[in-house]
Amino acid sequence: MGESGPDNILELIGVTMDYGQVKALNDVSMTVRRGEWLSIMGPSGSGKTTMMNIVGCLDRPTSGRVILDGEEISRLGGRALTTIRRDKIGLIFQQFHLAPYLTAVENVMLAQYYHSLPDEEEAMAALSRVGLSERAGHLPSQLSGGEQQRVCIARALINHPMLILADEPTGNLDEANEHMVLDIFRQLHSGGSAIIVVTHAHDVGARAERVVMLEHGRIAGIVEGRGIHGHRHDDAHA
């Protein structure tokens, strides 16, 4: 597994998350390098969502350390976590979560609204980047699932986050739209963005540089390089 240092955008060190008697994450340690595309895979209940919440500054671990961009965030308060989430992380959701009463461009501007000041030109550029400039004035209900997900991606990119977190980004898409979304991820990755994708789908997970396999809250294996051909349990606590 990666080593601690300035090359890492994210480090998890002995992270444990308890929900009462249940350990959603159990002594998990891993790193994500700057510009790396990482997938997190595992069955339901394996701790994927818990890890997403912790990495996405939506939750705090029971114990262990989380270091994002060199800053220890595991003990920060709600306001500080909100600031980090707003400034450093772009979130992409399986269910898109677009505001139904805002147009595509306004949905993108919504992220700017909470970050700083909405800039329509910049929002249009972000939509253009995901191939949706023609649909900027449409409401989510007038967009297909794939288009909605691309709006969601544009919204995640608009504040230039250093880490993009995508939770089952293709879970609600057909094959054509899945390829389109993954192609955007590939472009973002080529541009130097660090991406963490949580997915059930092997073909989606396989696009990453590394795949972290979670089971019962522990890292069951990490596959380096593209493609999943087997687990390497010896990497779990590298």
Binding site: T49, M52, N53, G56, L58, D59, G78, R79, T82, T83, R85, R86, D87, L91, F93, Q94, Q95, H97, A99, Y101, L102, E106, M109, L110, A111, Q112, Y113, Y114, H115, L117, P118, D119, E120, R155, N159, D167
Partner: protein, 382 residues
């Protein structure tokens, strides 16, 4: 488009969308605020107008201020009386009625006769019930109903009055009883005639034993008026009729308290309706709130959005309620006091400000709840 304009656009769109999407709930909340503001505005108008309305109303029950001669002398000059009365605010004086008392005999029965200005007496004592007519000439007089009973007189009866006037000089004359007075007080045993007639019979001139004054004003205002008269005209002593003035003050205080209670109930109505509506809204929109927080909205931003909605509802309901409250106040004025309520422009900003404040206070608990929503619910897809 400017960046600030962009921020305003998104804010306005979120606000209008939030209000329009939950139309039925918003209408219910707006209706509650409007009704509350209507009652509030109407009650404020009544509250401000009650003294004006009731002071005139109270004045139908007679004098509330009297002038009596200073010192041991039993009479005061009418000129001094006029000077003292001229110090009272003319627009608030209902009537100034001097009385000169003499003892007269009718059919050898002694009666107290009051010489007065009958037109003034009519204004000062609107509660007198009259059988017959007010005197149309100096040779007509009013007689108390009890006194008339003693001598078997009725309206139209002609009687011979006699007595001893100035320097014990005897006098006598014929007069007609034009009407019988019933007041439930000492007036029922008295005679009332024009001052000039009494003066010509008794030979007195320009003197009075007592002056009844009916003037609109609170106890404090009356006290100031009395003090001003006392200082300027030393030959007369003004006295408040404490029984009357005290009762009026007590009734006013109770009415104002009643109005205050009704207003509090109206505000409680606003509070409950807004708090319930807002709480439902927060629960319905927990995912949206979670999304906004996931996108970086801090608690202040979330609370600001909900309070903004509350403020819009408070302002709209307050304005509508002020408008409706004007008519509500007129309805109360006409149906309760028999005259329209005066419009007090301050009721508009007051009703709007109180509506906004109450709405904001009512929104606070649900808004705090909104701020407590964890953004993780969005990722979990709950």
């Amino acid at each position: 488009m400017g960046l600030r304009a962009g921020k305003r656009r998104i804010w306005l769109k979120m606000l209008s969308a939030s209000l329009l999407r939950r139309r039925s709930r918003v209408i219910a909340a707006l209706a509650a605020i409007t009704i509350g503001a209507t009652v509030l505005s109407g009650m404020l108008s009544v509250y401000w107008d009650i003294p004006r309305q009731l002071e005139r109303e109270f004045r139908s029950y007679g004098a509330n201020l009297v002038l009596v001669p200073s010192g041991e002398v039993g009479v005061m000059g009418l000129r001094a009386m006029r000077r003292a009365a001229s110090l009272l605010p003319a627009d608030r004086v209902i009537g100034v009625t001097p009385y000169r008392y003499e003892t007269l005999s009718i059919n050898r029965q002694p009666f107290t006769a009051a010489g007065t200005y009958l037109d003034e007496a009519r204004r000062t004592n609107p509660y007198w019930r009259l059988e017959g007519e007010w005197p149309a000439s100096d040779e007509e007089m009013l007689m108390g109903a009890d006194a008339a009973g003693h001598i078997g007189a009725a309206p139209g009866t002609r009687v011979r009055v006699s007595g001893r006037g100035r320097n014990n000089r005897p006098f006598a004359g014929e007069m007609t009883i034009s009407g019988l007075v019933r007041s439930g007080g000492p007036e029922d045993a008295m005679l009332f005639m024009e001052m000039s007639m009494l003066e010509s019979l008794t030979g007195t001139r320009g003197e009075a034993n007592l002056v009844d004054i009916s003037v609109a004003g609170s106890e404090g205002e009356l006290r100031k008026m009395a003090d001003a008269s006392r200082e300027s005209v030393t030959s007369v002593t003004p006295r408040l009729l404490r029984r009357v003035v005290g009762s009026e003050t007590a009734v006013l205080a109770k009415l104002r308290y009643l109005v205050f209670l009704v207003t509090v109930v109206a505000l409680a109505l606003i509070f409950i309706c807004v708090a319930t509506g807002m709480l439902t809204s927060v629960m319905e929109r927990s995912r949206e709130i979670g999304l906004k927080k996931a996108l970086g909205a801090d608690n202040a931003a979330i609370m600001g959005e909900f309070l903004g909605e509350g403020a819009v509802l408070g302002i709209a309901g307050g304005l509508l309620g002020s408008f409706a409250g004007y008519f509500f106040a007129q309805l109360i004025g006409i149906s309760v006091f028999g005259r329209s309520a005066a419009f007090e422009p301050l009721t508009i900003p007051a009703a709007v400000a109180v509506s906004v404040l109450t709405t904001a206070l009512a929104a606070l608990p649900p808004v705090r709840r909104a701020a407590d929503i964890e953004p993780a619910v969005v990722l979990r897809g709950e």
